[in-house]
Amino acid sequence: MSQAVNGPPAREAPGGGQFRAGSIRRRVVQHAGFALLSLSAVLTVIPIVMLIAYVVQRAAPAISWDFLAGFPREGMRQGGILPAILGTFYLTLGTAVFSVPLGVAAAIYLAEYAKDNALTRLIRVAIINLAGIPSVVYGLFGLGLFVLFLRFGTSILSASLTLSIMTLPVIISASEEALRAVPQAFRTVSVSLGGTRWQTIWRIILPQAVPGILTGVILGLERAAGETAPILFTGAAFFLPQLPNSPLDATMALPYHLFVISTQVPEMPLQIQYGTALVLISFVLGMNLIATVIRSRARARRQW
């Protein structure tokens, strides 16, 4: 009777001392592992910061109003890089004109209209493929189709069209995600009030998805602005006596300019090289910053 009240006799925990040693070993492994992973993360990230700081430091003497707004002289060894800056701006604009309407429309199709069948899967595989094609292959394609076959020649038009197709997958993915993020309940409510599918998209879904779409567009254009290979044979030129007058003219562009002055021009002042690199980095990172700001502001102001 009293035995039952006291319960079964106490036993030592199985393993005894070994149990505790095992837990110490586990903790050591964990700490070592965590340290290793932290190290890999730090080593990945520190060089980025250091490199950018280094570029800023080496480029600083070169940056001036004359540099940014002036024309090159002495075979690019002096003066400014305005034509390259303008060229990149034109190309980015051209890319936007073609890729944004097409990409957003394709995203609307995928998010709102497409059924779950083999054709839709094929479209998605195609998009993944477009995203993976090497940039120089895009250059070849642009050369074959736009420059030669359609006879647009080496021009802003050819380069923009080439860059647009390259940018399409980024815009489609980001836009589709933004559209899908809008709650399904909105669509049901709109339909129950007598709305057609397009009315629902135009009045509710699309406006609510705009920040996400915009972010995707900016990130896509940022990549297009920094690419060299697609524009190598389709629109970029190194030394142009004057600014382009029409979309059928070739243009200078920052990435191509940086490439040439750092590999093919003898006695190019380092300052100018770093300066050009800095302008290009700033252009690209500036867009990144804008996209990030849009993204966080939209998240705060969401009405759902």
């Binding site: 993360a41 060089p47 394709a106 195609a126 120089v136 292959v137 074959g144 490439f259 690199a277």
Partner: protein
């Protein structure tokens, strides 16, 4: 009062009307959207078509034996692409040797270990790296990395496959990090909590439960990283030395090589349209396209298969 707004006022109490003639504007919009949806397929087809159109003649103009020989010297008519292929392979392999450990390690760190404040700093920084144009990295490679390698490893030149691999690794890391980190994040919290509740340490949970659950996403990340590396042009063109020699020995990693991508970029500007050289360059482009096609199809097949298995298990 609001009777004038209701269009069906004449039909009050008479039931619903029959479908009127559809709005043509709406029909047009729907068609345009549909065609935009199909456009991706059209473009892939177009790209393939043009590459084949200009690249296939190479196979007829240059005997296959020569095409796959070990000498690439177009000026004298040698169009052996093997050195270029091995160049791409060795640089990519080296890049992956760098990018996979750092990329996965960083991804695991960000998603599993890092405190909130560290995550807020790391993620944007990795995105920053991903946004840097490759020509900028190539530029820094020429001015900083190659001289460093030359002095540090006592080489005749710093423009080697190693330099290319290091740069490419840096370029591929952001791709791997962002996709792997998304995959790890997507693992339901319930998995981790269950493991921890059973007495596992965080380290054991990470590698025993979370990582395997995210396996398909991590593999996708790696495959896409490989795709990115193989397809990179400018950075490798600027730092690998551009010597089309067969790269099969271990020592090749510290010698100059030339990749397929760099070859196209460097030589396309000089060729005459329609010449043999021109067609061979397009042929190389075809090869690159097919490689990226295979890599991407495998990557997406992995994702689809894993997802449907998970759906079956969880339903």
């Amino acid at each position: 009062m609001t009777g004038t707004i209701r269009q069906d006022v004449d039909r009050a109490g008479k039931g619903p009307r029959r479908t009127p003639r559809r709005d043509w504007g709406q029909f047009l919009v729907t068609r345009l959207i549909q065609m935009s949806g199909y456009s991706a397929i059209v473009f892939v087809g177009l790209i393939f078509f043009f590459l084949v159109r200009e690249g296939l003649p190479a196979v007829f103009q240059v005997p296959l034996g020569h095409l796959f020989s070990v000498r690439w010297y177009p000026i004298e008519g040698y169009f052996g692409v093997l050195p270029l292929i091995t160049g791409s392979l060795i640089v990519t392999a080296g890049a992956m040797a760098v990018a996979i450990p750092f990329g996965i390690g960083t991804a695991v760190f960000i998603s599993e270990i890092a405190p909130r404040w560290a995550r807020e700093i790391l993620k944007p920084l990795v995105e920053l790296l991903g946004g840097l144009p490759s020509v900028v990295l190539g530029f820094l490679g020429i001015l900083l990395l190659s001289p460093f390698l030359r002095r540090f490893l006592n080489l005749p030149t710093g423009l080697t496959a190693l330099a290319g691999s290091l740069l490419l690794g840096g370029i591929a890391v952001p791709t791997i990090v962002s996709i792997a980190e998304d995959a790890l994040d997507a693992v339901p919290k319930a998995y981790r909590e269950a493991a921890l509740a059973l007495g596992a340490t965080r380290w054991q949970t990470m590698w025993g439960v979370t990582f395997p659950a995210a396996r398909s996403g991590v593999m996708t990340a790696i495959m896409l990283g490989i795709g990115r590396a193989i397809g990179e042009t400018m950075a490798v063109m600027m730092v690998t030395g551009n010597a089309p020699v067969l790269a099969l020995r271990l020592a090749s990693i510290v010698s100059p090589v030339r990749t397929m991508t760099a070859t196209i970029a460097a030589e396309m500007g000089e060729v005459a349209t329609g010449s043999q050289h021109y067609h061979v360059l397009f042929f190389i482009g075809m090869v690159l396209f097919l490689i990226s096609l295979i890599v991407n199809v495998i990557a997406s097949a992995v994702v689809f298969r894993q997802r449907s298995r998970a759906e079956r298990v969880l339903s």
